[in-house]
Symmetry: C2
Subunit: 218 residues, 2 copies
């Protein structure tokens, strides 16, 4: 059965993502005192079966949550070992040695994942005029097939996955973290939410809260 959306409402998906990223920036500042800019470098749509290929070869750190409210589905974030070591080193002030994370590093990385995940989901929820409850994300380390098997086993094969390549650019130093985010909402619930939104309303909201910030209108 088709799940229909007005094609002109696709601009709203971009707005949701833009607001999610903006909220991550604020969360990093208030919760971890990290001044950073979050840029969404690319947005694409893939089928869930393509997600392992999108994650890439080799092992990745990943954190995922199931959304227990609309738009339901899964939020999955992946990043490579090098990014993990950079984040852990930056947050603890202790460089990662011998490619091995110590307990402090792991805690810091877990904390960063919590901030990024909840910041992004809350940003989307605010724009939707709702709240989205979620479980606490758990940080794990495995390869793409295992990540996909574990996180997406309950997802309908005909779902849509929104893939975002994001860069967290630390303002006070020449460091960038590269993250990939997969949003796999329940298609029906997602369309219902977007149908309720009006581009003009979002635009007014932006003109109040985001005046003159020059953000890319994703």
């Amino acid at each position: 059965m088709p799940i229909l959306i007005d094609i002109r409402k696709l601009t709203i998906i971009g707005k949701l993502i833009q607001h999610g990223a903006k909220n991550v920036t604020e969360s990093l500042s208030t919760m971890a005192d990290i001044q950073a800019d979050i840029q969404i470098k690319s947005l694409s749509f893939v089928e869930p079966s393509d997600i392992p290929r999108e994650i890439g070869e080799g092992t990745y750190y990943h954190t995922n949550i199931r959304l227990t409210e609309a738009p339901y589905g899964v939020f999955l974030m992946t990043f490579g070992d090098r990014t993990a070591h950079e984040i852990a080193g930056h947050m603890t002030g202790q460089p990662v040695e011998n490619e091995t994370l110590n307990h402090m590093h792991e805690s810091a990385l877990q904390e960063m994942c919590n901030i990024l995940t909840s910041g992004f989901i809350d940003g989307i929820a605010n724009t939707l005029g709702t709240t989205i409850n979620m479980e606490t994300p758990e940080l794990e380390h495995s390869d793409a097939e295992k990540i996909a098997d574990k996180t997406l086993s309950h997802i309908q094969t005909d779902s849509l996955s929104i893939v975002l390549d994001s860069v967290v650019d630390l303002r006070d130093r020449d460091t960038e973290f590269q993250l990939r985010v997969f949003l796999v909402p329940d298609p029906g619930a997602f369309v219902n939410l977007i149908d309720k939104l009006d581009v003009e309303e979002i635009r007014e909201m932006e003109s109040v809260t985001m005046a003159h910030e020059g953000d890319r209108a994703f």
Copy 2:
């Protein structure tokens, strides 16, 4: 009146763009003997009224065509002066001096715009299993508001614009050209075309013609 599309068919938009970019790569090689990789760095959806802001401040080179067959609408490509000078210098073997293009530079730039535009449109048309006739693009130089006024005056205000940031990366030297592409199809015609396509068919076509190329599944 809403123009409805099955949300799970959004993956097809990415495929169309991926195939368009791939065809540009081939056209550059066969028509201009330029070995280059085309990467689509970002895809977003905006309303036509946001296009001037998306183009950016200052003056830009731009070329646009009206599509006289489905999906109708406009194809607009913009790039900055620096990119124009680099392309013209590379194609003629004569560096641009005093920020001024000579006649040869202008011809070369016009030729490059023809190749990029027809390559992209033909790539999309092939994937759609059709041809898309178009006028010859004309190269012009003006600022964002004027570009938008001129090219989009006949576009419905509730159309959807697909915005692509592309990078043409020359293989034999350390040079990249940055281009922005705006595809503003007639929403109804565009949805009709996409509705006729099947993701599985595209996938089979890819597995024959693009095996093991590891392209990003946009």
